[in-house]
Amino acid sequence: MNPKRLLAITRAGIMESLQFRLGIFVTLFANLIYLVLVYYLWKAIYDSSGTDVVNGMTFTDTMIYLILATALFNFLEMFVVWDMSRKIQSGALVLDLLKPMRFRKYTFWSYTGNHVVQFVLTFIPTFIVVMIVTGGAIPLGLNIVWFIIATVFALIINYNIEMLVAPICLFTESTWGINIVKETIVLLLSGATIPLAFFPEKARMVVQYLPFRAVYDIPLSILLGKSGSDTWQGLLQLFALQIVWMVVLTLAGNLFWNCAVRKVTVNGG
């Protein structure tokens, strides 16, 4: 596939997202309020605990972790499940299936524009605010490069999780339910609601190897230099986990989609 064509889809996505500029500013503003809430909550928690470091996480670490997890969440959020169910109901899915491009590939690239816009307009400003508030607590070095690579992997894994879940709507006619189950599981097990470092030892042993962790925990750990990512060996382990899940989920998603697409019944809309 010609990369130029793919980039054209990305550009269209960027222009589409920029139509909702106000929405982006609201997101950014809400992130800042969220930052304040997280700050007060965890400040109170750490103040009550009497120690500065809990499970290897200081107050600043926890705060940066949770805020950037929220920013990552805005950035990674895809409405594949919603879009697909709406397309099935209206029949527009057929038009996408007829396009001279694999459906999964087309869907992925049509979201990239939104990702680019969200990254530039919400993630980077949030990152800068966090840097200012914490007085530069995030180390700036090679870890930024690794973080960006890990985020791209996270994006692909997240997309594949979405694409594994979305076709279930074809069978159940339930969108809200499917989506909320997916979101709950991903947010909890990926460490976006509470850092994985706080999980009980045994639970962590299991969660550590699940794909959800690769979406939020691994990029953020790499950024903060936690989970052994400050050594080459530890870094490679984290990347290896991401790559394995990326391959497995892509294959599984492909298989499931090819199977599910045969079930599509579109009412003559």
Binding site: G23, I33, L37, K43, I180, V181, T193, F198
Partner: protein
Amino acid sequence: MQKRGLIFYARMYRKILVQDLKSKMSYRADFVISTFGMIMTNLSGFVTFLILFRNFPTINGWDYYHMLFLYGFSLVALTPVQCFFDNNWNLRFMVQSGDFIKYCFRPVNVFFYFISEVFDVKGLGQLAFGIGTIVYAWVHIGIPVTPLVIVKLIVYLLTASLFMIALMNFAAATCFWIKGSGYVMVIMFRFKDFAKYPASIFSGIFKVIFTFIIPIAFIAYYPSLVILQPGNVPPLSWISPLFGIVFVYLSYKFWMLGVRKYDFTGS
């Protein structure tokens, strides 16, 4: 338009409700999965809570059972908005597509007709979960059970629920002015996650903001103090019912203002 009595509206609500439930019954798989999803979100919230308390035994002087009470309180207080006001989530699609016009052509209150159209059954699961949590925490804290306390509990639970209703009305109504305002609702809905923590953690200007502008502190904290600290109830707790009614009234006015401003898409 002539004024109609409460009885008229109550009877109509019942009729619309029955229709809604009938249409829901035709999607049984959806109902089962949605209920399961609701249980999952509550379980996940609970697991987060447990993990937090495993690492930190007290938060700002609040111990495990008091926090659990507050958590259950917030769950119950969030049930009415979930059950009765769920159609607010569809408002922006209706406004954008122009379908909203149908509500304006009926000889009944637009807000009433729109909101009554959907009753969300799965909210009841949350209610059960919340009541269970309150009872469990109640027993462990050892609050005496008297009729007066029960009445207070019910009154202040209703009070607490008013604030979330008002917030969601405000958030939903923004779609009359802003295109693609779904974000506002999602964000407001996420702020509710902080209702289950004692608002005493805030200080300075943010204490004012989270009490009077985005009243997160009223969704559980202030109303629950009436039960939790009967000897030392701050004045804000006592007057919270009044605040709640004012907030809901303002949100209703804001919503209706949006309706008046709404100019129909041609399609």
